[in-house]
């Protein structure tokens, strides 16, 4: 990253690049969302998506303009709100597709607290990591203590059930605690426990191994467990290099379930072809790079952790989603940030981007502050 600086890319340029990436994903995503859902819903989902995008954009602008310092004061409160909302889900939540994940108001407005929880968790862990900076090396502060609130939050999300988000946030917590200075060893143990837990969950299912086998050979299981993923592969495969043309996808029409949410990347692959689908991957990579560049240049540890957290949150979610739709990982229900249809997700992803830009706006470079001695770049690559 030092190299980037030396090549003259400043924090401003990085911010513009980041905003461009998000804008690109958002506009392209809207087009693809319409294409993916027009056969079933017409423009209904697109309009809803654009409303949420506008709200998200407004929120992002406000968050970007304000100094992110205020978030430090409210980190715990936000976290508690997230826990309470997730708790309320079990009372007031609406069941869709066998999962209780939503609050529903009226006919069209719905709210998914786990999306809010994602951002709240990032802010909370950034706050915690900064507050206990000196103690993160210890088992207690570095690992056990933060696991209590995080475990509560993840437990609630897991019981909705929402395994995808749980896995995502577990990974994100690991990343943020490690960035805060925790020991690797503890996470190795946790990771093993996590794997054991997943294995246990698999074994309790009615057909243990079936889903795993379906993942390995989707064509053989295309009529049952791998139906969705097989349709996704057919979509990508049909697209080929050039794609079938915008709006001309066939698999998206009632073959592929969730084509406008979790599997929208397959629609992109089918209609726009390999060049564009790889283009989307590259844009996400640039987004991650610029996000982490902003984190690198953050004014303080809170900003650093928060920027890195938001970047990893979005990057990781995009990665897992793309891995799922290309059958690189087994199926999890995660949407593709900025592109998939999903109001709450879009809203809080945009808020996250706002926070990122705020960190960039209030970074060391923009205020002309000196780089602290501890962050001399030559120290970075010392053993």
């Amino acid at each position: 990253m030092g190299d980037l600086e030396s090549k003259g890319i400043g924090i401003r340029q990085a911010t513009y690049l980041l905003i461009s990436c998000v804008t690109l994903l958002l506009t392209f995503g809207s087009v693809m969302l319409y294409s993916a859902s027009m056969h079933q819903e017409g423009s209904f989902l697109l309009i809803k998506h654009l409303v949420y995008a506008s709200m998200g954009l407004g929120g992002a602008v406000i968050l970007a303009w304000k100094d992110y310092q205020w978030l430090r004061k409210h980190a715990v409160a936000l976290f508690m709100v997230a826990v309470v909302l997730l708790g309320f889900i079990f009372v007031f939540g609406e069941v869709r597709n066998n999962a209780r994940r939503w609050f529903v108001f009226g006919d069209v407005i719905s709210f998914q607290p786990s999306e809010f929880a994602k951002l709240a968790l990032v802010i909370f862990l950034a706050y915690y990591g900064e507050k206990n900076a000196e103690k993160m090396g210890s088992w207690g502060h570095g690992l056990l203590l933060p696991l209590i609130p995080v475990g509560l939050l993840l437990g609630l999300i897991f019981s909705e059930p929402d395994r995808g988000t749980t896995v995502l946030l577990a990974a994100l917590t690991g990343v943020l605690l490690l960035l805060s200075g925790s020991r690797w060893s503890g996470f190795v143990i946790l990771f093993l426990i996590g794997v054991a837990g997943l294995a246990y969950i698999f074994s309790t299912q009615a057909t243990p191994g079936e889903r795993f086998m379906a993942w390995l050979d989707p064509e053989k299981h295309k009529e049952d467990h791998a139906y969705q993923i097989w349709q996704s592969l057919l979509a990508f495969g049909s697209g080929g290099l050039e794609g079938m043309g915008l709006g001309s996808g066939r698999i998206k029409i009632n073959f592929l379930p969730e084509q406008q949410t979790d599997f929208i990347f397959a629609v992109i692959g089918e209609e726009m072809g390999l060049l564009i689908s790889i283009g989307v991957v590259i844009v996400f990579m640039i987004f991650v790079l610029t996000g982490l560049f902003i984190a690198w240049n953050a004014r303080d540890r809170f900003g650093f952790l928060m920027a890195a957290g938001v970047t990893f949150l979005i990057g990781l979610q995009a990665l897992i989603n793309m891995a799922v739709v290309t059958n690189t990982l087994p199926n999890k229900g995660l949407s593709l940030p900025f592109i998939s249809y999903g109001g709450s997700n879009l809203l809080f992803m945009m808020a996250g981007v706002g926070v990122l830009v705020s960190v960039a706006n209030h970074s060391l470079k923009t205020y002309g502050m000196k780089v602290p001695e501890q962050v001399e770049s030559n120290e970075l690559f010392q053993p």
Binding site: L178, Y227, L234, G237, F255, G269, L319, T326, E376, L380
Partner: protein
Amino acid sequence: MNQRAHSMKTRTVYAKQLRRMVTFAVMLLLGFLVIAGRLVYIQLFLHEELLSKAQEKTRRTWLRESERGQILDRQGVLLASNQRVRILCANLAYIDRYNDAMAKAIATYLEVDESAIRDRLELAYVTVKGQEVLDPHVRLKVKVTHEEFEGLKAYLAQYPFEEVHQGLHASDLGFIEKMRKHAVFVEPVDDFKRIYPNGMLAAHTLGFTRSQETIHGGHTVFLTQGVAGIEKTCDDMLKGAIGWTETERAPRKRELREYRYRDLSPRAGMNVVLTLDAGLQAIVEEELQKGVEQSHPTSASIILVRPQTGEILAMASYPTFNPNRPSTINRSNSSDKNRAISDQFEPGSTFKIVSIASALSEGTSRLEDKVFCENGRFSNGRWSLSDDHGYGSLSVMEVLAKSSNIGTYKIIRRVGENRFHKYISDFGFGSMTGIQLPGELSGTVHPVRHWRDVTLSRVAIGYTISVTPLQITMAMAAIANGGYLMQPMIIDRIEYPDGRVMSQYDPHEVRQVLTSKSTRQLTEALTRVASEHGTARRAQLEDYTVAGKTGTARKIVNGHYSYAKHLASFVGFLPAESPEICISVLFNEPEGTGYGGIHSAPVFKAIAERAANYLNLKPSNWYLPAHEMPQELVLQSQAMAY
């Protein structure tokens, strides 16, 4: 100050943290690169394979059946048409445990076998997206008309399912309500059912069709094929051209119209207009039925032609069948056989018209020449010939009127075998008439070199040869029209679906058999047959002079001519002065004596009377010798010609 420094210290980012961030960043970016690799693999290397597998699911080819052409009579009356039909299906999810009751209800309404419906309603499960569900699409019956379907729904709406299962909960009642509404539905296919609106009318001429179900691209296609009658001979013209749609589909969408890339609409078949007249056909069939009830023959046929053109105005056979339900055809008595063209038999006395005609035409005999009839028994030592009634000396005219076998033989003996054989062939016996109907037979006429000493005497009176009813009718028509053998016509014209004429069939004269002078003489002789002095008293009409000839042929049973089984026939035309219709009536093995004059002549009379009224024929007393007829009457008679 110190505290602030501490605060600053905790807030600064350690190099270790940045290092870790770089590590995670590298891991994340590597992950993205793996995805990019997967995309290249799937979209580039698996492209062809996956694309073809996707197209297997989306691409569909549908055959669209063309609407079969209609068959009409000469006045435009529909004889064969089509009805749009659907496939009746059931959704088992709505039926569930009521399947037995439902099978009973459906079978009762549609009048089909209950066990077949019950088998189809057997609870079967299918896997839809990994879930086992009751089959929502079970085919029950093909070719169900809209009326039948609507009727079935109404029937199910009031069918007492509740009584079948006692002690029901409210939820069961709700289930039954839903079942009544949604259990059965129709599959929208382009399919037609051939219908014959007039039922059995002209069944043998029209024939019937068979529908073959084929699965093409996952869709059921019914191809209709003519099996008998006009349906068969004109199949190529009637069937039109099937349509062809290559398109794409998606679940819950029948077709993605925008991706239809090949679309040939079906071309409807041509309409076939027959020479038949439905009114006359109805008269003929009614009278045939009456005759059958009187005489109880094993089979019978009647043909009504216009002698001038050879157009067949009506043609009926007994036993008959309903072309709407080909499955009811009785195989044991071949009820689908068009006996008018595909029965061959020894004609007996009706064949004497050929014998006398050849003698008159050759000039070997004149009408008033006397022939000694040996008082009913004639023998030359090698073979003998007898008459039912013994006659002494008869004129040629009387020989015909009394139908004397001995007289006929003596007349034909003067013509000679070779000349007689030539007349037989010229009249069209021994070869097919060429009518455009399937299954015509040619009859048998042995060549003269195979004739034995006795043969001439037998052929002269209609034995040792075999003919079809149509042949003998056309021979009589040739006598009626002045000596021209016409090819029988059954198709008048072929029309495009919009009614424009595609091709018109014209009357075709095969050859001139007789001179007009000899036919006039013969007609005069034949009028005597249907007179008080002839064998066909019962064929006489009040207003019209009838010319005709009876026949009572003994049938061969176990190699001997039977005295119990006969072929009773009458062939005649009217008005004798200017023949408009020629009718043959043929009863095979009627009960009782079997005389043509008793069984066939009354049927002829009934038909002739009604047909003459129907056609508004001029009564015979209107006819004057041509030179005495006023000019306006000549014009009128031309105008009235059918």
